[in-house]
């Protein structure tokens, strides 16, 4: 029963929050003085970047827990979070490029935050490719867990390495104060909430799919063994 409620409650909440976020982005948040309407993409860009990074962190946690405990649930969590995270980090890159063209005059600039997003995207893709290239389920899960851990711990190092180059990215914080107005901040927070709930709904659905795949494989194995 609880599962059923969660099953429709999360997507429903996600839809409601997205409607609210869209309304606020286009009708509540003020037009940014320098960049104009193109700045509105920022609410999706930042929110998807946050979820993309959070998804990577969840994959890291699931990977550590799987190596320590060996329970399949942790592996499923790591796998599902990586796949969902890849979708969000892809969105981050696309919205970043759409923003960059009018703002900086080019779709792509080797700017630190954009670069670290690209690094994360490549890591997610590599993780997904690794999962697709494995046959032995248990061993494959261990390999993926090890890669999930190694990949996550290199992200801060990549960040420091890239950050030591000059940044031209707009700053949220400027001189200790927020560079955006309170309505902008409220809109951003609603957008963050919408993306986070969407992430949770997609994560849950993907985990459920993987569990059902396991159950099907077990049924097939039992049928063949009978």
């Amino acid at each position: 029963m609880r599962d059923k409620i969660t099953g429709w409650a999360l997507p429903a909440l996600s839809v409601l929050l997205f409607l609210a976020a869209l309304g606020m982005v286009f009708f509540y948040a003020p037009r940014e003085a320098t960049m104009g309407d193109v700045q509105r993409i920022f609410y999706f860009h930042v929110a998807s970047a946050w979820v993309g990074f959070f998804g990577f962190f969840v994959t890291f946690c699931g990977s550590v827990a799987y190596l320590l405990r060996g329970a399949r649930t942790w592996d499923i969590l790591a796998l599902a979070s990586a796949e969902v995270g890849l979708a969000f980090i892809t969105m981050t890159l696309l919205t970043g490029m759409l923003w960059a063209k009018p703002a900086w005059g080019a779709y792509w600039i080797w700017e630190p935050r954009l670069t670290i997003s690209a690094v994360q995207w490549v890591l997610y893709v590599a993780y997904s490719m690794l999962r697709g290239a494995l046959d032995a389920p248990e061993r494959g899960a261990r390999f993926a867990a090890v890669y999930g851990i190694v990949a996550f711990v290199t992200v801060p190092l990549s960040w420091f390495a890239i950050r030591w180059w000059r940044t031209i990215h707009p700053q949220l914080l400027s001189g200790g104060e927020m560079a955006i107005t309170p309505p902008m901040l409220t809109t951003l927070l609603v957008s963050l909430a919408a993306f986070t709930v969407l992430y949770a709904a997609l994560l849950r659905a993907r985990m459920q799919l993987e569990r059902e795949r396991d159950a099907l494989a077990a049924l097939r194995a039992a049928q063949e063994g009978a």
Binding site: L67, V119, V122, L123, V125, A126, M129, L130, A133, L134, D135, A136, P137, E138, R139, R142, F143, A145, V146, Y147, I149, V150, A151, V153, T154, L157, S158, F160, A161, I162, W164, D214, A217, A218, R220, A221, G225
Partner: protein, 483 residues
């Protein structure tokens, strides 16, 4: 000696062993049989500590394999389907390497009679790759007996042997059994094999369906067919199995062995083995070196730069070339272990998993350093630059070191995947981004004559990268090699 309680081993949804209960006493000779895919090899691999059960408990020599793996592995000899010998080493080098892994003090005295017994004394310096199947099997048995284990696990040992060789093997095993060895021998065919086992186990679809004294040898094939066809045993499992005999008074004479070799001695043994194989084949160094030189020549031709422009571009060119050349060597280094079963051979010994990793990573590091030195010299000629500044050595050591550590870990993963060599660069290069940025920036700073201090921050980043990489690799490598 061996206690299995409710042992189940699953590979995903497939169960290779299902609730196996089994006791084997010291001095028994047990034949383990069953159709293809019955779970014989899985059972032997759990006994050899190469695999862990999914559920149930295993005790070997009264010890838990998870807690006392090294202690148990010193007492087990496992003859696998594969010989687990390095074809690029001689018979003597193979045995010497394994003797070092087991920490045998008197390896020369131990190796000589084993080579004599295997009738390989005259060819002890020849590469194993030049041996016939029968010679390799005899050498594999010598490897198994090197540390005089009281428990022998033999997986289809008669495969590929002619009648005479099979008779010789039976005679040798009978002699070992007579000396007090416990033998567990897996086979799926009984025709033509005359080994005098005392007890027969039949596995079918992972279940132990028959466990009884072998009885009359000639009657067993008929009984086997009947049991496998019916899927059950008459008498039932474990009925009529004699109590485990007392350990015989004439136990096999164990070679004198020191306490387990220390971590760095283990690392040294693996490193020496890899270098010896490389001396024979030169396949890693030549592949990496030729690729790196070719790439640098192409860069030099395509960029056609000198002076300041070259100074700005060359650090990136050098480290990119080195990064791509490195993936070739790493792939091959681990694929060689995978192909020969060498990694499995090491896992059967008491050598620590971290020592295996360190040995492999050190070998890869040395190869990368050699390639880096060649690249640096060639760059000085092609781009007319002074590449050797004080402070370049730590950049080279740390840059190649971090690469070798992360690369060895990922190569151990990639080698077990379908895509293998293709997947390694995809997995590895994104993880090398901070290392490559720092190495390129530090090299560039030094080449522009800014001195060692200019690259200080980048050097610190390289040190941190190396420390993090070593820590993570040592913590996780065990999970990578575990079955």
């Amino acid at each position: 000696m061996i206690e299995f309680r409710g042992v189940t081993k699953a590979f995903g949804a497939q169960r290779a062993l299902v609730g196996v209960d089994l006791s084997i006493g010291a001095g028994e000779w047990v034949a383990l049989t069953g159709p293809n895919g019955a779970g014989k090899t899985t059972l032997l691999r759990i006994l050899a500590t190469l695999a862990q059960p999914t559920s149930g408990s295993v005790r070997l020599f009264g010890l838990n394999p998870r807690e006392h793996g090294a202690q148990i592995r010193r007492q087990i000899g496992y003859l696998s389907h594969r010989t687990l010998l390095y074809p690029d080493l001689s018979a003597e080098q193979n045995l010497r390497f394994y003797a070092r892994c087991y920490g045998l003090n008197d390896s020369a005295a131990r190796i000589a009679p084993l080579l004599e017994q295997a009738q390989l004394t005259a060819r002890r310096h020849d590469l194993v790759a030049t041996y016939s199947r029968g010679m390799q099997q005899r050498l594999a048995l010598a490897r198994v007996l090197l540390h005089a284990p009281p428990l022998l696990l033999l997986d289809e040992p008669y495969t590929g042997l002619d009648t005479f060789a099979a008779e010789e093997l039976t005679a040798q095993l009978s002699q070992l059994h007579g000396a007090g060895c416990t033998l567990v021998l897996a086979t799926h065919t009984w025709e033509g094999e005359t080994f005098p086992a005392q007890r027969a186990l039949i596995l079918q679809r992972g279940r132990l369906i028959h466990d009884a004294p072998l009885g009359e040898r000639a009657a067993f094939p008929a009984l086997y067919r009947q049991v496998v066809t019916q899927g059950t045993s008459q008498p039932p499992v474990n009925a009529g199995v004699p109590a485990a005999p007392e350990a015989p008074s004439a136990a096999p004479e164990a070679p004198s062995s020191a306490p387990l070799p220390g971590f760095w001695r283990q690392v040294g043994a693996i490193l020496a083995k890899d270098l010896a194989a490389e001396v024979h084949t030169r396949e890693l160094l030549s592949a990496m070196g030729v690729f790196a030189v070719l790439a640098l020549l192409i860069f030099s031709f395509a960029l056609n730069m000198q002076g300041h422009a070259a100074g700005a571009a060359v650090p990136g060119v050098l480290w990119t070339t080195l990064a791509f050349a490195g993936t070739l060597g790493l792939s091959r280094s681990l694929a060689r272990e995978q192909g020969t079963g060498g990694l499995e051979g090491m896992l059967l010994t008491p050598v620590e998993r971290t020592a295996i990793f360190a040995g492999k990573a050190l070998g890869n590091w040395l190869l990368m350093l050699v390639v880096a030195l060649v690249l640096w010299l060639l760059s000085a000629v092609l781009f007319n630059l002074v590449l050797w500044e004080a402070g370049m050595l730590p950049v080279l050591l740390l840059g190649t070191g971090g690469y070798a550590v992360v690369g060895t870990l990922l190569a151990a993963i990639a080698v077990n995947t379908r895509a293998r060599e293709v997947l390694l660069p995809v997995l590895l290069l994104p993880l090398l981004i901070p290392l490559l940025i720092a190495a390129v920036q530090a090299t560039g700073g030094l080449m522009q004559g800014l001195g060692a201090a200019a690259g200080g921050d980048w050097l610190r980043l390289l040190v941190v990268y190396n420390l993090v990489a070593v820590a993570v690799a040592l913590l996780t490598f065990g999970y990578v090699v575990e079955e």
